[in-house]
Amino acid sequence: MIKLENVSKTYQTDKVETLALRDINLHVKKGEFVSIMGPSGCGKSTLLNLIGLLDRPGKGKIAVDGAEMKVWRDKELASMRNRTFGFIFQSFHLINDLRVIDNVELPLLYRSCSAKERRRLAEEALARVGLSARMDHYPNQLSGGQQQRVAIARAMVGRPSVLLADEPTGNLDSQMGAEVMDILLKLSHEGTTVVMVTHDERQAKQGGRIVRVFDGQLVA
């Protein structure tokens, strides 16, 4: 599903060059639940951003669905992100000016989809995370757990093949975190590939395969 070969990423500031990732080789298979673990600042989120094509590697190759990313043109990247990936962020990143239902519809705005169909799919996604009753609320009227469930609904509304979750339970208490994990596991069991960055060993074990990053490198 996703293949990274000898991927390196360097950040260049005024005078300092920081090597964020070095020679990463990673193969995520279709339907797999992969947890990326490691200490803060080791490059976990950078790795997730590279997988999700939000960032581009300095060196190496990235292939998604068997197709190697060769041309990093904005239009193609946008289309690939829209069709293949669903993102879940630690701080939810919901748009507070839009109602819950409109937030969930967001990925569908960037593909050919009628307003009626968008509405139907968004309602379905919200029903799956148990928030049908909250669709006309605004994000700041919801609890943290509910906001993350909205974010999951948004990530899955376009039926992407890969969900990328960056510490999805990081801002939640244990009960809400467990609820979010349950949803992710359920999606994984239904065949969605999940790549999750987490600090929580227990949650990582629930997922299945664990990948550890240390000082920008994958470790056994």
């Binding site: 939000l54 992100r81 990936f85 993102f87 990143h93």
Partner: protein, 411 residues
């Protein structure tokens, strides 16, 4: 999609009320100035009011004669109109009218300076004066050289107060005229005057023999389609005039122009060119309007840049979920256009109030300009141009944000 943009735009604008108010003020002021100018231009150059048939007629204001050492530019003499233009086959009516001249009117114990035109009967048939009382001069009045006059409403009030005006006598330049009609005040190019008398009331008949003088001609076709034919025939007529004149001139030029062409030719001195320069003039007007929009647009660019950068995280989210740079530019430009359209709506209200004030303040005599559907449409177009001008640069800057940095809110 548009609904989504609209919702976001409303929320964002309502969140920062002061900021939005400054933006709106900027837009409204620009719109009012541009729309007032547009309304005046529209009333001047489009077929409206007394010149409602102007799409069917052309005017000749000057004759330009050139010899080796001299170029002579003058309004037409009556002979040119009477002996040559009236004989043209492609015209339906030809009117002769002098340019407005200041005359003194002695009435009881007061003297008033007013503008007078001398016109033939066709003048009253080509122009569409609104008659308030009495009648306008007929062919018989002109033919017989009757001392009759038509005055406008303001002059009637100024000289005779509230008394009935038709039938009263008015004295000017040693001549006495009987007022036979009162018409509504007008400012239009061919119509502007305070008093009109028949052309045949000139103290001397010398004007009949002049090639140059103080006359304008109006040539009306059966329809707008006749105007190119009139222009073509005029070229032959001009050659004949050049050949017939007692004084030798190498070349004679005379152009039948629409109102806009007439104005452009006067400003750009295209006396010897068939092209009046109206396209250049219009381009100049559009350039000036764009220039006028530029300063407030730059201000909006600056304000918009700040506003958009506040929304870095939203931009990051949209990019993550598949928005391309182009779509983001579109979104932010549409948001800006929506604000500009709202500004235009408020601007139209203030434009209407400004036009009412301008008409009542009498800064420009007889100015009566109102909002029309055309001005409303121009307002719509101006708002969109303004929205694009002030929105596209910040939108482009925003769309180039790195999605990872944008998600961190670190734009």
């Amino acid at each position: 999609m548009l609904k989504n943009y609209f919702q976001i735009a409303c929320k964002v604008y309502m969140r920062r009320k002061l900021f939005t108010a400054i933006n709106l003020l900027c837009i409204v002021l620009t719109m009012v100035v541009l729309l007032v100018v547009t309304a005046i231009l529209q009333a001047t150059f489009f077929p409206t009011g007394v010149e409602g048939r102007s799409e069917r007629f052309l005017q000749i204001g000057t004759i330009t004669q050139v010899s080796k050492n001299k170029t002579w530019r003058s309004p037409l003499g009556y002979k040119v109109i009477d002996q040559y233009l009236r004989k043209m086959k492609t015209v339906e009516k030809v009117a002769a009218v002098t340019g407005p001249e200041s005359v003194s009117v002695y009435q009881k114990d007061s003297v008033n300076e007013i503008m007078m035109r001398r016109a033939d009967a066709e003048y009253w048939q080509i122009l569409d004066f609104k008659l308030l009382s009495g009648r306008v001069p007929t062919e018989e009045d002109v033919k017989q050289g009757r001392f009759v006059a038509v005055v406008n409403e303001s002059t009637a009030k100024k000289i005779f107060g509230s008394a009935a005006v038709v039938g009263q006598k008015i004295n000017t330049g040693g001549q006495q005229f009987e007022i036979i009609g009162v018409v509504e005040d007008v400012i239009h190019m061919n119509a502007f005057a305070d008093i009109w008398v028949p052309v045949t009331t000139f103290p001397s008949s010398q004007y009949r023999e002049q090639y140059t003088g103080n006359f304008n001609a109006m040539l009306m076709g059966k329809s707008a389609a006749d105007l190119p034919l009139i222009r073509d025939e005029l070229l032959q007529v001009v050659k004949q005039i050049n050949a017939d004149q007692p004084t030798h001139w190498d070349e004679t030029y005379m152009w039948a122009d629409s109102k806009l062409d007439f104005f452009a030719r006067g400003i750009l001195s295209h006396d010897k060119l068939a092209d009046s320069g109206s396209a250049q003039l219009l381009a100049g007007v559009v350039f000036f309007m764009l220039l006028f929009m530029l300063l407030p647009a730059l201000n909006l660019v600056n304000l918009n840049s700040g506003r958009i950068m506040e929304r870095a995280a939203e931009i990051g989210v949209r990019k993550a979920f598949g928005a391309s740079n182009r779509e983001l530019v579109k979104q932010f430009v549409i948001e800006n256009i929506l604000l500009c359209l709202f500004g235009a709506l408020v601007g139209l209200i203030f434009t209407k109030l400004t036009l009412i004030w301008l008409s009542n303040a009498e800064l420009i005599p007889y100015l009566k300009v109102d909002l029309s559907f055309a001005v409303f449409s121009y307002g719509f177009v101006i708002a969109i141009v303004f929205g694009v001008l002030s929105g596209v640069i910040p939108a482009w800057k925003m769309s180039r944000l790195d999605p990872v940095l944008a998600l961190k809110g670190a734009a």
